[in-house]
């Protein structure tokens, strides 16, 4: 009797809906975090400006969508434009800092994020913009009309991450990136153009952030502060997943998004954020190398 009463008290339908929601945001978050972890793994740079690249991607999406009316074109152009911008940022601000204390790169990318964020505020104003969904089908999930688009972005994110993984595993340049991550000096000795690989990796991470910005744009408004929330979440994911560990970041992204989605059944979404903060602190205390990596010997 006791058990059935408890089972009835649990809002199963809400939990299922929040599971779907959590996985969708988790995939977006994984897409952002895998760029961040790539950049950290290859050059020990914690990219504070990653959220701003995400935000800028969404804004470029808004602009291209307004002029061409094609969502997929907007996605492509935003990704390429922000990847180029990322390459420029890397060459101008991070390349001169190579070999200095890694902490200086946090400061430099923090400066970049301030510039980009204030540029967006100046250029587009404080009012949130909206990206129209490319299609608007729904299916019934309990009492909700659930948009197909959300499932599509989860699938697309997964496809992009999968493609990225294949590229790292089998592509020639992917192997260059992995070699540089493992040992910068040795890679240089084997004839890999390490500075170029750094720039390319930064551009790749920036492009992925921009793509997730455009994909996520239709779910929330696009405004100049959206980068801040996401970069914090991405930081948490990257640390919980283990710095520089791609698989761990993806698992952590979904794990944390699910926890936040469940928490927001009972508390307001603003407070649900605290759950992920607590996960981070517990991880740092008990497994500072990350939750989803094998125990170091």
């Amino acid at each position: 009797m006791e058990l059935t009463a408890v089972l009835y008290a649990i809002p199963w339908d809400q939990i299922l809906i929040q599971t779907v929601n959590g996985i969708v945001t988790g995939m977006i978050l994984a897409l952002i975090a895998s760029g961040l972890t790539l950049i950290f793994g290859i050059m020990d740079v914690v990219n504070f400006a990653h959220g701003e690249l995400f935000m800028l991607g969404a804004y470029i999406g808004v602009v291209v969508l307004a002029t061409t009316g094609n969502f997929w074109l907007a996605l492509l152009i935003a990704t390429l434009a922000v990847a180029l911008l990322g390459a420029a940022i890397q060459v101008v601000t991070l390349r001169p800092l190579l070999g200095r204390d890694p902490l200086t790169t946090i400061l430099a990318t923090f400066g970049v994020s301030l510039i980009l964020q204030n540029y967006a505020l100046w250029q587009f104003g404080p009012v949130a913009r909206k990206i129209q969904e490319p299609f608007s089908g729904h299916f019934t999930l309990f009492y909700l009309e659930y948009p197909w688009y959300r499932l599509v972005i989860a699938g697309l994110s997964a496809a992009i991450i999968g493609g990225f993984w294949l590229f790292l595993k089998f592509g020639k340049y992917g192997i260059w990136i992995r070699a540089t991550t493992q040992d910068r000096v040795m890679a240089q000795a084997m004839g890999i153009p390490v500075p170029l690989v750094h720039t390319a990796a930064f551009a790749l991470g920036a492009g992925m952030a921009a793509a997730s910005g455009v994909l996520f744009g239709p779910l929330v408004g696009v405004n100049h502060t959206m980068g801040l929330d996401w970069v914090l979440k991405a930081f948490i994911v990257v640390v919980v997943g283990g710095m520089g560990n791609l698989g761990g970041s993806i698992a952590a992204a979904i794990f944390i998004s699910l926890l936040e989605a469940y928490a927001s059944i009972w508390v307001s979404p603003a407070q649900a954020v605290i759950v992920s903060f607590i996960v981070l602190i517990l991880t740092l205390l008990f497994r500072p190398t990350g939750l989803f990596v094998p125990t170091p010997k």
Binding site: T93, L97, L232, L280
Partner: protein
């Protein structure tokens, strides 16, 4: 002339200028200078970590903001409002938070320390922002300014001049205390942690304990800056716990010169002055953080010693 003589001469000249300043400056610049001193104190407190211990804190806004809210609590609960109670409450709040943050964050190093302190400040931001009944939520708290009083001796209401002198006295005292700390054996150990942590541990110093004390001291002075800011502006708001305030404190440090204690005040002055100039030249809507961000990045790359370090090298040449 010896080095110390030059230092104390410079100190006296600067102090004399700062004491005379409110008498000769117009109201706007008087308030401006007072605020620069307060921001300078916040930046100076984080210099103890950045410059002397080699830890970048992105969470000083938590200490600053809790100092503000602690002062606000004292000023709202007790009537008539009492300056010294506000100071005590603000410092107690900041110290409590600093102990909590220090205990957890000092187990981590470098980037992890920076991220953890950032996350902690965001936790306090969310709590203060959403706990509307107690903290006033988004609107914050408003209160009256307490009089400058020593019980049984005198009691005068603050005006902008006495406020400036009071802030100046507190900041100067903090500077002298921090200077003493960084030159004490304790400060030497902190600098040795910055230079080589494993070696410091190998010599036998309990590095973690030193770091906890360093973060707590730094948080205490940041809380003091928060109390001063609350009294100066008569409000406490959650915006000041948001991590961008910590980021600004770091910017002041880098611009002025880390590891100098005076540098951060110079940096705060430079930053606020540039900001004021830019908004006067191009209007209030001008995104002053864009040019200042560029200056900041250029300084990191080409002028890692900051303005003060640059000036010192230029004078020595």
């Amino acid at each position: 002339m010896g080095h110390t003589v030059v230092f104390w001469l410079g100190f006296c000249v600067v102090m004399a200028l700062l004491i005379i300043a409110p008498v000769v400056l117009p109201e706007f610049w008087r308030r401006f200078l007072t605020e620069v001193l307060i921001w300078g104190l916040l930046a100076m407190s984080s210099d103890l970590l950045i410059g002397y211990t080699g830890m970048i804190s992105f969470g000083h806004s938590a200490f600053f903001g809790l100092g503000m809210y602690g002062a606000a609590a004292a000023l709202l609960m007790f009537s008539p409002p009492n300056l010294w109670l506000a100071l005590a409450f603000g410092l107690a709040a900041a110290a409590l938070i600093a102990l909590f943050v220090a205990y957890f964050s000092t187990r981590l190093r470098d980037i992890y320390f920076a991220i953890t302190t950032l996350i902690f400040s965001q936790i306090f931001y969310v709590i203060i922002f959403t706990w509307t009944e107690v903290t006033g939520g988004e609107n914050g708290l408003n209160f009256r300014r307490p009089p400058l009083a020593i019980p049984g001796l005198f009691s005068v209401p603050f005006n902008s001049e006495t406020m400036h002198w009071f802030v100046l006295a507190v900041v100067t005292a903090s500077y002298l205390i921090l200077r003493r700390i960084t030159r004490s054996p304790f400060g030497m150990v902190l600098q040795s942690i910055r230079e080589n942590e494993p070696r410091t541990r190998a010599i036998g110093y309990p590095v973690e304990r030193y770091k906890i004390v360093a973060v707590m001291l730094s948080g205490l002075f940041a809380g003091l800056a928060g109390v001063l800011y609350a009294i100066q502006n008569r409000f406490a708001a959650p915006d000041f716990i948001f991590f961008l305030v910590s980021g600004e404190a770091v910017i002041f440090n880098v611009m002025g010169g880390i590891g100098t204690l005076v540098g951060p005040i110079v940096g705060a002055g430079f930053f606020q002055l540039m900001r004021e100039m830019l908004s006067r030249l191009f209007g209030d809507q001008f995104p002053y953080l864009i040019p200042l961000g560029v200056v900041f990045i250029v300084m990191i790359i080409f002028l890692p010693q900051g303005l003060l370090g640059f000036a010192r090298r230029w004078l020595n040449r």
